[in-house]
């Protein structure tokens, strides 16, 4: 403490000291012989000489004087108090969404970890609020006991760095924070303190238990393999530089490209609105809006495309191909004559409704066949049914009724199918091209026409159905890929 003022009055001696933090003023009072004449005004005057009157604690002064009049002095009574400064608060960044944290596997919510659904990132749609930057506050300056201002620390702004994929929205200057919005679809990524929204999810290694299933709003790029059982769903394209190892569901609203081997197997499915390209495929089932491009081989696959299937340098062995704009393959089937279906369909026949209808027809046909087995000879000799014993007769009547219903429904469904088939003609240039060899066992279909090869056909050869889709003819080879 430092003595700031000393005065001698008739009734007392006062010594005023300021604390080290300059926020408190202490009075040391020594009574004199005439202590009974002590006056509050005298003490206040001395204190006011060094401190502003609003900081003086008058109750304490009054108490000191009361005691002084009884002959009691005091040691270090606090008679004035300054105002402490209030430091400003630093600005801060508060995230409203999960940021990508590769390799960070913790799940406090569920208290267990499901490696298939790690949820390492969150899909962010354009325009969505991703974070808030709270502004720093100014802070309030203080006053020491002599009335001098004590400066305060102003809060520092949050050192947030982000690129143009994140936009700042300031609705109101008075608002305590600035809202950050996503300028594109994607996920929030932290690049060493600089934040960005990435529209490509790049999986640097294999897509496995370190990442879990992927459901992403943008494009997905997997540098390694997609391990068995892991699914990828992307609004953008999917690109796999390695292989896909089986039992995967791949869905894209754009294209899918697999540079290596794609194995399907049970429960696997591929759906793409754009093109699908693969080097080698086995036992995959696809539903593709664009072209299907096979690099080397497709074995036992269901390749269904609303456009063309191009395998100019590849062999298609076993399985089935549906296409609208045509098929071109180097080799169809193999030496041992495995059945390989290539079917040209019109635009309606590759739609989901048509497939549903076809499935329905198949189910009805199966039901009709089962009923025929149950009913047996009574199906053709209905007049013998009344001769049966009561219980058996009723049962047979019921079965016949059911059979008639199924047949009627089947006829209706078949007429719908026919209408759909005839509703759209085949593509003008749709044909099947074989550049090297079509083995025996290859079957070309369209509508009611079926051409089953009994002997191998050397390429290049083109097969085209007649306009009414009732027969096939061989036409001069014309490269499908050049159109």
């Amino acid at each position: 403490m430092k003595v700031a003022h000393r005065a001698e009055k008739d009734a007392f001696i006062v010594e005023l000291s300021i604390s080290d933090d300059r926020l408190k003023l202490f009075a040391h009072i020594t009574p004199k012989a005439d202590f009974k004449a002590a006056r509050e005004e005298d003490l206040l005057k001395e204190i006011s000489a060094i401190t502003p009157s609003d900081l003086i604690d008058r109750m304490v002064v009054w108490d000191i004087i009361t005691e002084l009049r009884q002959g009691k002095g005091c040691e270090s009574r606090r008679v004035a108090k300054g105002v402490s400064p209030v430091p400003g608060k630093d600005g801060k960044l508060v995230w409203l969404v999960r940021r990508f944290s590769p390799g960070k596997i913790e799940d406090t919510e569920r208290e267990f970890v499901d490696f298939f659904t790690l949820g390492l990132f969150e899909n962010i749609a354009k325009g969505r609020e991703v974070a808030r930057i709270y502004k720093p506050t100014q802070g309030l300056a203080g006053r020491d006991v002599v009335g001098k201002l004590i400066p305060t620390r102003t809060g520092r702004p949050a050192g947030t760095r982000f690129d143009k994929t994140i936009e700042a929205r300031v609705d109101d200057d008075q608002e305590a924070y600035t809202t950050l919005l996503a300028a594109i679809d994607g996920y929030v990524h932290d690049e060493g303190g600089k934040f960005t929204i990435r529209d490509v999810l790049n999986v640097s290694g294999n897509l496995d238990y370190g990442m879990g299933h992927v459901d992403f709003i943008g494009n997905v790029r997997v540098v390694g393999d997609i391990q068995k059982g892991f699914n990828v769903k992307a609004r953008g394209s999917i690109e796999v530089l390695g292989s896909v190892l089986g039992e995967n569901v791949l869905t894209s609203e754009s294209s899918i490209s697999i540079k290596g081997f794609h194995y399907g197997g049970p429960g696997s499915f591929l759906s793409a609105k754009g093109d699908y390209s693969v080097d080698t495929a086995e036992k995959i089932s696809t539903e593709v809006g664009g072209n299907i491009l096979v690099g080397r081989e497709a074995r036992d696959c269901s390749l269904h495309s609303s456009s063309a299937v191009i395998a100019t340098r590849a062999a298609i062995i076993g399985g089935s191909v549906w296409c609208v704009k045509g098929f071109e393959g180097r080799i169809v089937g193999n030496e041992i004559g495995v059945k390989t279906d290539i079917e040209l369909r019109n635009e309606l026949e590759v739609t989901r409704e048509y497939r549903k209808l076809s499935d329905n027809i198949q189910k009805h046909r199966a039901a009709a066949a089962a009923l025929e087995l149950h009913i047996g000879p009574y199906l053709k000799n209905r007049n013998r049914v009344p001769l049966l014993r009561n219980q058996f007769r009723d049962k047979m009547m019921m079965l016949l009724d059911k059979y008639d219903q199924v047949q009627k429904a089947l006829e209706h469904l078949e007429s719908l199918e026919k209408k759909m088939r005839e509703g759209k003609p085949l593509e003008l240039e749709a044909r099947i091209n074989v550049t090297e060899k079509a083995h025996a066992g290859a079957v070309f279909r369209t509508g009611d026409a079926m051409l089953e090869l009994k002997d191998p056909v050397q390429g290049p050869a083109s097969f085209k159905p007649t306009d009414d889709r009732k027969a096939w003819s061989t036409v001069p080879y014309q490269d499908l890929t050049k159109e």
Binding site: K89, K92, V94, W95, L96, V97, R98, E109, G119, E122, N123, R128, E129, V130, R132, Y134, D215
Partner: protein, 165 residues
């Protein structure tokens, strides 16, 4: 959209097999709901002021923060009914810290909607305060907010299906 149209759209979407609620919806973070700024009061605020604030803003809860701005409690319309009505003589003399729920369950904005719903269901809360890394409230989520969000996403799915199908 009118209620009748909405219902008919929902029925037709169901019959088409349209997935009305996106499967990832519940995995979205609470922050995606669009957090509203919370109403905050100090612990020494009188009940009269608190109730007036609830009435003025037409909300069901207030967050109580300490001098550092950190969450200290929550005062809801339920507290008002269960602890205040008929038990407090003068609302002007009673302070909120004596009636609030102290240290309420709070969540970070990155937590999933599913987790928040689970908290509400198991804990029987209708409001969950959302706090930042310093335990300072940045929003509050009510059951109604979650339901509104689900309905909004459902409508988006219906509109999207109407465009494509």
């Amino acid at each position: 959209m009118e209620k009748k149209d909405l219902l008919s759209n929902i029925y037709s979407a169901c019959s088409l097999g349209v997935q009305l609620i996106p499967p990832t919806l519940l995995c979205d973070s609470i922050g995606s709901i669009g957090l509203k700024d919370p109403l905050v009061v100090k612990p020494d605020t009188t009940l009269a002021e608190c109730i007036a604030t609830l009435q003025r803003h037409k909300v069901g809860s207030l967050l109580v923060v300490d001098d550092d701005g950190k969450l200290a409690g929550i005062f809801t319309e339920r507290d008002c009914i269960m602890k205040v009505m008929g038990k407090v003589d003068s609302l002007k003399d009673a302070i909120v810290s004596d009636f609030m729920t102290k240290n309420p369950v709070r969540e970070r904005p990155e937590a999933s909607i599913a987790f928040a719903l689970n908290l509400m269901s198991h804990g029987g809360f209708r409001h969950v305060p959302i706090v930042d890394q310093d335990d300072v409230p940045i929003g509050i989520v009510s059951v109604k907010d979650v339901v509104d969000h689900i309905v909004t996403r459902m409508l988006e799915a219906i509109y999207a299906a109407c465009e494509t199908d």
